[in-house]
């Protein structure tokens, strides 16, 4: 008797969700196991690729066996939710945060979860569907801005890694959390990050209040020249958008 489409799909779904063994599905559907394994590898490979593309530094610095063990568990627990490829990696940060420090994951060190959070925020800023307007009438914050609390050792680690320093130790999570500002640069369209210095926090406060650097400086008893320079700097790096940006 010819199997129904739905019954075939149900069998394959159970296989890809790890609910039955490859051999069992192959026998149930009378399919050659080595051919079916091609799909098994493909489906898993897409999730692995989503992780390696979104967390290149983390995956690069984890021991291979650690990453593979994490991948196996992640694949089982977090099936891709949508056609948007990157979303297959979205749950990985929380997944790591839950496991950090577990003895069962040898090679997963304090700081790896923070590194994954940082890389994910960079990816979100780069891919964010929101428009960064070319022209604004009044100064406003870059709409892709995310504020992240984590030790500065994490972005430093990432920068060093990208510069070829591969023998560093992953930053320890016992370092104090500090504020990082992550956003997509309006012209270069790359994700960038800055330490939330007093100058940049001042610029954020000015925009949040809908005021001007001069007014806020006077109210706070700050030198107006410094305040204006802080705003100019925030505009120059793309954190604040204003009509004079170009």
């Amino acid at each position: 008797m010819t199997r129904s489409l739905l019954s075939i799909q149900t069998e394959l779904h159970a296989l890809f969700r790890g609910q039955v063994e490859l051999q069992t599905t192959a026998e149930a559907l009378s399919l050659p196991v080595e051919r079916l394994r091609i799909y098994w590898d493909f489906v898993r490979g897409h999730v692995r690729r989503a992780l390696t593309q979104n967390f290149p530094v983390l995956v690069g610095c984890l021991p291979h066996t650690t990453f593979e063990a994490l991948f196996e568990e992640y694949f089982r627990l977090h099936p891709p939710p949508s056609f948007a490829f990157n979303e297959a990696a979205e749950a990985f940060v929380g997944f790591l945060e839950e496991r950090e420090g577990w003895e069962g994951h040898k090679g997963l060190r304090p700081g790896h979860a923070a590194l994954s959070r940082f890389e994910w925020e960079l990816s979100l800023a780069f891919h964010a569907p929101v428009e960064v307007p070319a022209v604004v009438e009044t100064p406003c914050l870059n709409p892709t801005l995310a504020v992240l609390k984590l030790p500065f050792a994490v972005p430093r680690f990432l920068l060093n890694w990208q510069a070829g320093l591969r023998d560093q130790t992953c930053p320890l999570s016992c370092a104090p959390d500090e504020l990082s500002l992550i956003f997509r640069h309006p012209k270069r369209e790359t994700a960038c990050f800055f330490a939330a210095t007093d100058d940049l926090l001042f610029a954020l406060a000015v925009i949040e209040r809908g005021s001007t650097a001069e007014v806020v400086a006077e109210e706070a008893g700050l030198p107006v020249v410094s305040a204006v320079n802080a705003m100019r700097y925030a505009v120059s790096i793309g954190l604040v958008l204003d009509a004079a940006r170009d």
């Binding site: 008797m1 010819t2 199997r3 129904s4 489409l5 739905l6 075939i8 799909q9 149900t10 394959l12 779904h13 890809f16 969700r17 559907l29 009378s30 399919l31 050659p32 080595e34 051919r35 079916l36 091609i38 799909y39 493909f42 489906v43 897409h46 999730v47 099936p79 891709p80 939710p81 949508s82 056609f83 948007a84 490829f85 990157n86 297959a88 780069f126 891919h127 964010a128 569907p129 929101v130 428009e131 960064v132 892709t144 997509r184 369209e189 790359t190």
Partner: protein, 286 residues
């Protein structure tokens, strides 16, 4: 049916991000000999920033067609409204001429597999795909067509052959075909049929577009990798296809282990030369 006004765009390649600077340089279309670009919906539609700008910039310089792997036209779940909205949005922003996806299922039971999972060659499956394709067509703003995918397992008790299945669903869906010639070759080798007879059995008037690509010969099986140059066998099959279809928009795909753009352009020009062998000088139909 919509194929009557389908254009012959010439010879194109996919808009891959590493190639964007080269493809979108001033006069690149003329200098590089690329007649049109294909944009993969999943790679561009959900995103903003550089990816959004590249798609729109490409549309200013080239005719655009859209391709996808996420429609899951054979899937068990309702059509994904978010996918269709993204497709419509990208189609409007790029003025794309048509959209194609594969005869397969790629998601189900709330899970996205990001792969082209094979359907059984049954009348039930053909009707299921045709019904959903017609529904999708009613919800999007550009013509939809289907591609014959590569497949590595054939459900053994299905009563139809691949080409019977394909023809049945094309007829019932009343849609166009993106004929992937490399897939025909790979499937014919993997499942033991004559690729020329397969091409001959298709309704040539439904073919909107052709895909060409390279594959990997693993010894026991050919894998449709899109990661190599075309074999001469595939190019011969393409020549045979053109004798049936006449001039047809032809796209060379290279998606994995991306080489320099120049290597992809060589393949594009091989396809163009093969078409010239068969058709002689041809005027494109915009």
């Amino acid at each position: 049916m919509v194929q009557a006004h389908i254009a012959d765009l010439g010879h194109g390649i996919g808009l891959r991000i590493p190639y964007a600077d080269g493809l979108l340089a001033p006069d690149a279309r003329t200098v590089l000999g690329v007649d049109f670009l294909e944009i993969l919906v999943e790679n561009y539609a959900p995103y903003g920033g550089r990816l959004k700008r590249l798609a729109e910039q490409a549309a200013e310089q080239y005719p655009i067609v859209l391709h996808g792997v996420g429609l899951s036209v054979g899937g068990p779940d309702p059509l994904d409204a978010r996918y269709l909205e993204s497709l419509n949005d990208l189609a409007r922003r790029t003025g794309a001429l048509w959209f194609t996806d594969h005869v397969c299922w790629s998601s189900g039971f709330g899970v996205e597999y990001h792969d082209l999972l094979p359907l059984p060659f049954t009348e039930e499956a053909a009707s299921h795909v045709a019904r959903r394709l017609r529904e999708a067509q009613s919800r999007v703003c550009l013509p939809l067509g289907l591609e014959n995918p590569s497949y590595y397992v054939k459900h053994p008790d299905a009563p139809l052959s691949e080409v019977e299945f394909l023809n049945a669903l094309l007829e019932e869906a009343d849609c166009g075909l993106l004929l992937d010639v490399n897939n025909v070759y790979v499937n014919a080798r993997n499942h033991g049929y004559d690729p020329y007879a397969f091409i001959d059995a298709l309704p040539a008037e439904r073919v909107w577009q052709v895909h060409l690509a390279g594959h990997l010969d693993r010894g026991d099986v050919l894998i449709d990798t899109h990661g190599a140059a075309m074999t001469d066998d595939v190019l011969d099959l393409y020549r045979h296809t053109l004798r049936r279809t006449g001039g047809i928009s032809t796209l060379f795909e290279w998606d994995n282990d991306l080489p320099p753009l120049s290597t992809v352009l060589v393949e594009n020009n091989r396809a163009r030369a093969a078409a010239h062998d068969v058709l002689g000088p041809r005027s494109l139909r915009p």
